[in-house]
């Protein structure tokens, strides 16, 4: 059963819900930050954050508390907190709602986060197109500053904290954390080789934590109720995947939206209970579980986990649509949780056209530093285009898989995998559709439909 919650979303529908008076009135805003700064030690805070089992909401699912614990004080260099609000992964539309409708949760999260990692400055990196988000965040920062929650002496303490909004200028790759850091420093947004990791050499050469915007926004709630209690809100708390999460649903459903739920709803619940069912009562064909880089699932896919030790064993033989969405559960079914925004595709959607659409995206957004990604993304696009236009051969289908496999593991950043994995997913799950185009049984003009 779905467990709707409203920790982040309580102020969403309220008049002026994004302003300080409403945040303070409705959710006792800034009380947690005050308690942390005036009565907790850094170590206690990080221990509490670990107990909350917050898995990073940027896509990789890294445990937030553990990431904070990597930050060690440096003899001469300051530390920075950098918040990733570049939200650009196709199919992802959750962070924007927080910035527009509950920006104070972000600012309060930044205060607590700075204290937790020993930083005095936080930068919120917002993609440039999100003008209303930037406006609301700046307004929230200024309100908090006027009240003495930020600045030289937040809550009367001697722990100065400043929060700034920084913007990019249109480049999906700047969501990758090291590219984002280069962009913050005023450079081209090209990803850096790791190691060194940001915790050692991050923004401006200093130790840095990069957290996703939703990750930081949920921190006041988690610390406020206590890490363990927060973690236990989740249906899959036992898999160290705790708390609550924003879930998005888009594509072919009757009511696309963003909702807040205890961690662990199933895809079927999201489609039926949240999304109001598949558009026009059609049959479900496929879902992309968490942004375009996560491999597609077929509606008729089943869980294959005969091993009793597998965390997925309880769902062995069941539909993938009935597995709770979690970092490890989605990995177990051959895809990824990603950003928790599900793209739904109904019967009649052309999977070759869907792949073609996404390969256009990846071709456009590759930063071009690594040959396998730069050339590979071009090959993928050209080959799928050839097939779609009826000029392809069976070798072209195999070629697609070869090119994708050659990108995997051979690039500086995870954009390469993010391009290759979904390509391989479409080929593996829907190969007969590609073959139908090669044989001329399907044609672009007649069959390449995305809007059904």
């Amino acid at each position: 059963m779905l467990k709707p919650t409203n920790y982040l979303t309580k102020v969403y529908g309220l008049p002026n819900g994004w302003t300080l008076p409403v945040y303070e009135r409705e959710v006792q805003g800034y009380q947690v930050a005050k308690r942390v700064l005036t009565s907790m030690s850094k170590d206690d805070l990080v221990a509490e954050a670990k107990k909350a089992n917050i898995r990073g909401r940027g896509g990789a699912g890294f445990p937030m508390g553990v990431k904070w614990s990597f930050m060690k004080p440096h003899a001469t260099k300051p530390a920075y907190l950098v918040i990733n609000a570049d939200e650009g992964e196709p199919g992802t539309h959750k962070d924007r709602t927080i910035m527009e409708l509950n920006p104070h949760s972000v600012v309060e999260g930044c205060i607590i986060g700075c204290f937790g990692i020993g930083a005095h400055v936080a930068y919120i990196y917002v993609r440039d197109e999100l003008h209303l988000s930037k406006e609301r965040l700046w307004a929230a920062i200024n309100e908090a500053k006027a009240k003495g929650y930020l600045g030289k002496n937040p809550f009367g303490t001697n722990y100065p904290i400043e929060v700034y909004v920084h913007t990019g200028a249109g480049a999906y790759i700047c969501g990758e954390e090291t590219s984002l850091l280069n962009s913050l420093e005023g450079r081209r947004g090209e990803p850096r080789l790791k190691p060194p990791f940001p915790a050692q050499v991050g923004a401006f050469g200093c130790p840095t934590t990069v957290n996703n915007l939703e990750t930081i926004a949920i921190v006041p709630t988690a610390i406020g109720m206590g890490g363990e209690a927060f973690s236990k809100l989740s249906a899959i708390h036992n898999l160290n995947d705790g708390g609550i999460h924003l879930y998005g649903i888009n594509g072919h459903v009757n009511k696309p939206c963003v909702v807040e739920l205890a961690v662990g709803p199933t895809i079927r619940e999201l489609i039926e209970d949240v999304g109001g069912g598949v558009l026009g009562g059609k049959a479900l064909l496929a879902v992309i579980p968490g942004g375009s880089s996560t491999p597609v699932l077929r509606a008729d896919d089943r869980v294959d986990a005969p091993d009793e030790k597998s965390p997925l064993h309880p769902w062995h033989g069941k539909s993938v649509l009935d597995v709770p969405l979690g970092v490890d559960t989605m990995r177990g079914v051959g895809t990824m949780l990603g950003t928790c925004c599900v793209t739904v595709m109904a019967e009649g959607t052309c999977m070759v056209a869907a792949m073609h659409n996404l390969m256009q995206f990846y071709r456009h957004e590759s930063c071009g530093q690594c040959t396998p990604c730069r050339e590979g993304s071009g090959w993928l696009l050209r080959s799928v285009e050839k097939i779609l236009e009826g000029r392809g051969s069976m070798e072209d289908i195999d070629n697609l898989a070869d090119v994708a496999n050659n990108i995997m593991g051979n690039t500086i950043c995870a954009f390469g995998e993010g391009t290759a994995m979904p390509a391989l997913g479409f080929l593996k799950k829907f190969r007969p559709e590609f073959e139908a185009y090669v044989r001329g049984e399907k044609t672009k003009d007649r069959d390449a439909r995305l809007a059904v």
């Binding site: 200028a169 999906y172 005023g186 963003v258 995305l450």
Partner: protein, 158 residues
């Protein structure tokens, strides 16, 4: 006359510079200020930003060419971006784009003859739950229908 920022934008740049430990940190915000004023970024602006922030012009030029939102040539008075990526395409983005092209008499990537409107496609704008959508200058317009597009275009042309 060489390029210079207006007095209020210059003051804003002063504020921006205080936020970063290096002058380079202000490079992208400074370019945004210049583009706001001038509409696009030419070599004079590159030189101006380079001098103002003590950076090699080649660095600034490299930044300008990396990011899609920096215009390197003049654009229309209004910018129209129709999101084309999969979640929007599933909700009819293609039809919205074709409708815009027909009404404006131009293709994506072009500017109307009167210089008023530049039409482009965008990649996912984090608005997939309210698709199809487009951005007009700084505003998002969501859950689009051809009728709503017509209303919008009327306003822009007025």
């Amino acid at each position: 006359m060489p390029f210079a920022l207006s007095a209020d934008r210059e003051r804003e740049l002063e504020e921006i510079l205080k936020r970063y430990p290096t002058k380079m940190g202000a490079c992208i915000p400074a370019l945004h200020l210049c583009q706001d004023q001038n509409g696009y970024i030419d070599d004079e602006i590159v030189l101006y930003v380079a001098n103002r922030l003590d950076l090699p012009p080649a660095h600034v030029k490299g930044v300008v060419t990396f990011y899609t939102l920096f215009n390197q040539k003049p654009v229309g008075k209004h910018q129209l971006w129709v999101c084309r990526t999969l979640p929007c395409a599933l909700r009819g983005a293609d039809g919205i784009l074709k409708h815009c092209e027909k009404k404006l008499g131009i293709h994506a990537g072009e500017t109307t003859a009167d210089g008023k409107i530049t039409l482009r496609t965008a990649e996912c704008l984090a608005s997939c739950g309210t698709a199809p959508m487009m951005q007009v200058d700084k505003d998002y317009h969501e859950n689009l229908t051809p009728e709503r597009v017509d209303e919008l275009l009327e306003k822009l042309r007025a």
